[in-house]
Amino acid sequence: MRNYVLKRIALIFVTAFIIIFLVFVFIKKLPQYHAAVLGVYPEIRIILEEQEGYGKPIVEQFFIWIQNLVKEGGLGRSLKLKRDITDILAEKIPVSFRLNVFPYFAGIPVGIGLGIWAALKKNKLTDHIISTGVIFFISVPSFVIGTMMQYYVVYIWKLIDTPFVFSETDFAANNLLGIASYLMPMLVLFFGTVASLTRVMRAELTEVLTSEFMLLARTKGLTQRQSTVRHALRNGLVPIAPSLIGGLVSLLSGSLIIERIFRVPGIGGIYLDAFNNFDYSLLMALIMFYTIIGLSATLIVDLSYGVIDPRIRMGAGKR
């Protein structure tokens, strides 16, 4: 097990290194790359260019960038926001995380519960209602649900005053209304979590419920409840639990679409700004952030498979 874990972690580092290098070269080779630096004072520009190793071969620039990152934890400076990128990330990641964490943890029990309920009542009315809800919330894009909610809650029912979340100063002035303004984006995220979780839970459980060991469990005298909780549920959760653990990592990255609709000052909004303003050093840092988040989520999912079900070794060699 230890060798397997170490091997996977080493592999992740190699993959991340290659990806980041490729992206780095691609960004440096963009035709507008130099033009974006022009708006800055010449003196500052010279300092920045020296820091970045401008004019040297790209491979050398890449190692300078890595060196800065490893030695000082510095990711360079955002030219549009005129701030250190590490500071920006440190400020924005918690905002996205806070927004995502509540719907995620609230959604897990609800999703699993609904999934179990639907699977046990398969092809009955309850199942049909739950499944219809699931297909609705999975199909209808979150930007449709989000904007419709904004329109009805704010302009028709007039429950709250603004469709957007409160800024920090407004939030400090009125905590209660501030929290209320965060309810809508959280609700949209909650629906998404619940719908996708219900769907997998129902599918896994119906499959387990029809397997032969369930018949055995019933024949040896267990009640429906005992056999479901002790046998079916445990096996049904095996493929789901790892993805839930992996999802924890993704909470950091936030949701571009929700942050855009509700104007949440999180990491997603920063990415859009960096893209629209050609803020390349920020874009580089954010892509690195997303890549690492994605890779480590996959890693954690694979590893937790092994922890939850020791028979499974995802990505191990064939034996």
């Binding site: 092809n123 199909s139 894009p141 997303y290």
Partner: protein, 439 residues
């Protein structure tokens, strides 16, 4: 002792008759027929398929229903028809299609309007402003021809139109030809312009042949017809989705079958490449390619196809691993079948069901992603407005012009719902593990 029977007494039963295999008495049910029979049973999927077909056909022919071209001919006149609420003479009985709109302002702004424009007072707010329901089309016509300023009690500035000499002459000619009055208040030419008051809708009717100014889905902020824009946006979304799906399926199946069938070094190399590509966030690929090559449809398609084939490839690969050592493949090889023949005539048909199952839900996923990134403003086709961008435009004005958000929202939701339901039905129909299970 046996009696010898004369040979001539025997008669061959089927002497001059060739015996062939008899054809089935019943109709043969092949794999696809079987899938179709099961698909038909799923009523929700059949309905979804019909809706889907309707949406696809409408995205092709929908824009042809609209004869309104003013926004393309002359933006000067179409900009006056901005943010018009939906109106249709047939659907008039429905509240959403009557061309009415709520307007809020001080009572003086509405008191000078002629009868028939203000349809009712909704409420009065604390600072004395009233919210009234107006016939917006009549209001716009009045606004650009005879509105009276509440302060000066004279015709407001908006009531006057600056016509160039050419335009003035055209209007005069149209008046003579049709025997109507368009110009209500004439003026002398001044620096190349005639500052006159015209009956705006009459002007559109006789000069631009617009018999009735009606927007079924309303118009947007620059006077574009939303019905036409919506279907044009739908067209581009579907075009991208189908192109991307086709490319990814072909590439995925080819790469997957080769690395699955041959295994060894090819497989190892392909796996490492896939691993690196899979680690690249789609967001990064899309944004970097757009920054490098600009906004064009092919760039978006390229971004989707960079990593989109990975899933199909790994699925095909695992199916090829599963079947390549089966006895029937060995039999085919013994009979002298080449690699290509074994791959595509023997293994691939076995893997087909599993591949179709995952591929049908891939198309709606592409539409979903494309719409999401258009909504975010990352994907932007310039001239053509995709459905996602229509929605993000609509969100900005939803307070007053909700229909600008509603129609694209209904469209994209309906498209996604029917695509997913259809895909689910198809998946169940092709999934052999459900065979015999009657549900």
């Amino acid at each position: 002792m046996s009696q010898i029977i004369d040979k001539n007494k025997f008669k061959l039963v089927q002497h001059e008759q060739t015996i062939l295999d008899e054809s089935f008495q019943t109709r043969a049910i092949g794999y696809y027929m079987d899938a179709w029979l099961r698909f038909k049973k799923n009523k929700a999927s059949v309905v979804a398929a019909v809706i889907l077909l309707f949406l696809i056909i409408m995205s092709i022919i929908g824009p042809l229903f609209v004869s309104y071209e003013l926004d393309e001919i002359n933006a000067k006149w179409s900009s006056r028809l901005s943010n018009m609420p939906p109106r249709n003479e047939v659907l008039d009985f429905m509240p959403g299609f009557s061309g009415q709109q709520e307007m809020t302002g001080y009572i003086q702004n509405f008191s000078n309007l002629p009868d028939g424009i203000v349809l009712g007072i909704q409420n009065v707010n604390e600072i004395g402003q009233v919210t009234v329901l107006v016939d917006y089309y009549a209001y716009i016509d009045h606004h650009f021809s005879a509105e009276i300023d509440p302060v000066t009690q004279e015709f407001a500035a908006t009531s006057y139109t600056n016509l160039t000499i050419d335009e003035y002459n055209t209007v005069r000619a149209a008046e003579l030809e049709n025997d109507v009055i368009i110009i209500l208040e004439d003026a002398e030419e001044n620096a190349g312009f005639y500052k006159v008051r015209i009956q705006y809708f009459e002007f559109l009717k006789y000069v631009y042949d617009m018999d009735d100014v009606n927007f079924l889905f309303g118009s947007d902020g620059s006077g574009r017809d939303l019905f036409e824009t919506l279907w044009e946006g739908a067209r581009i979304s579907l075009l991208i989705a189908f192109t991307v799906a086709a490319i990814n399926i072909i590439v995925g199946i080819t790469v997957g079958s080769i690395s699955g069938y041959y295994g060894g070094t090819i497989d190892l190399v392909m796996e490492r490449i896939s691993e690196i590509l899979a680690g690249l966030p789609f967001l990064a690929i899309l944004t970097l390619l757009l920054l490098r090559f600009g906004n064009a449809i092919w760039v978006v398609i390229l971004a989707f196809t960079m990593t989109g084939w990975l899933g199909i490839s790994s699925l095909t690969r695992s199916q090829f691993y599963r079947y390549k050592n089966r006895e029937y493949v060995l039999a085919a090889r013994t009979l002298g079948a080449g690699d290509r023949r074994i791959m595509y005539r023997h293994i691939f048909p076995s893997a087909m069901g599993t591949i179709i199952t995952s591929v049908v839900l891939y198309i709606p996923a592409v539409i979903f992603t494309e719409a999401t990134f258009s909504f975010l403003g990352i994907i932007n086709y310039g001239e053509t407005i995709s459905v996602g961008r229509l929605m993000s435009n609509g969100q900005l004005v939803m307070k007053d012009s909700f229909y600008q958000l509603l129609f694209p929202a209904i469209f994209i939701s309906l498209l996604m719902l029917s695509f997913n339901l259809f895909g689910n039905g198809l998946r169940d129909a092709f999934n052999p593990s459900l065979r015999g299970a009657d549900e």
